[in-house]
Amino acid sequence: MGSLPIANHIRRLRFEAGEMTQSDLAERIGMTRQTVAAIEAGKYSPSLEAAFRIAHVFGVGLDDVFQWTGGLPEGKLSRSD
């Protein structure tokens, strides 16, 4: 499987939030520790709802947690176009 086009800063945000563990984060967003580990490792893209929950736990916006690193499909116009 290729790497997902979404990067995240969950590890850093956990560290900045008093070294919150993956288990703590998992419990607060209603997910398993395995799923948090998979998201953090960039192996699984969470649903929009789960992404918002993660951002809410850290008190930041979605863009501060996740970044789109893939390009647009060929033939699609970017917003600036």
Binding site: M1, S23, A26, E27, G30, M31, T32, R33, Q34, T35, A37, A38, A41, G42, K43, Y44, S45, P46, S47, A50
Partner: protein, 153 residues
């Protein structure tokens, strides 16, 4: 501990992932012996009768249940509380995808059951072919789950 030799990458193994391994190992072991005995009996020249086959099948099913109970108890005892939390979105997707794949495999194998009919196989043989189809689709589901749990999704 059950998880350590099977640990891949750095994602800890959940109880549900261990369950997939338990299904894989127990079904492979019990029905592996069952089908080996059937084939070995045929190679030796003596067909196993319907009653003998039924006894062998009952033995395989009882062994499967016993093995699964024992391994599940070990898995539950060696999995931290967090690993036994209710399934979340990723795990539900893994379940859904793996069972869809297993369904396709079972469908193809069920259609292939028409082939041995043309070669004059007995009703007992046909029952065993059908059982083999179920076993293969079950193994497919377990392998698909293990692969998806290990790679993240």
């Amino acid at each position: 501990m059950l998880s350590s030799p099977l640990q891949l990458g750095n994602i800890p193994m959940s109880f549900r992932e261990k369950s997939a391994w338990i299904t894989l190992v127990s079904v492979l072991a019990c029905f592996g012996v069952y089908f080996y005995e059937l084939i070995a009996g045929r190679v030796d020249g003596h067909h196993l009768g319907a009653l003998h086959s039924l006894h062998l099948l009952l033995f395989a099913v009882v062994a499967l249940v016993g093995l699964q109970l024992a391994l599940t108890a070990i898995a539950a005892a060696t999995t931290p509380k967090g690993g036994r939390a209710p399934a979340d979105e990723r795990e539900r997707l893994i379940q859904w995808r793996s069972h869809t794949l297993g369904y396709y495999v079972l469908t193809v194998l069920a259609l292939l059951l028409f082939v041995p009919i043309h070669f004059g196989h007995s009703a007992l043989d046909m029952a065993n072919f059908a059982l083999l189809a179920v076993v293969i689709s079950t193994l497919t589901v377990a392998v698909a789950q293990i692969v998806m749990y290990r790679r993240g999704f």
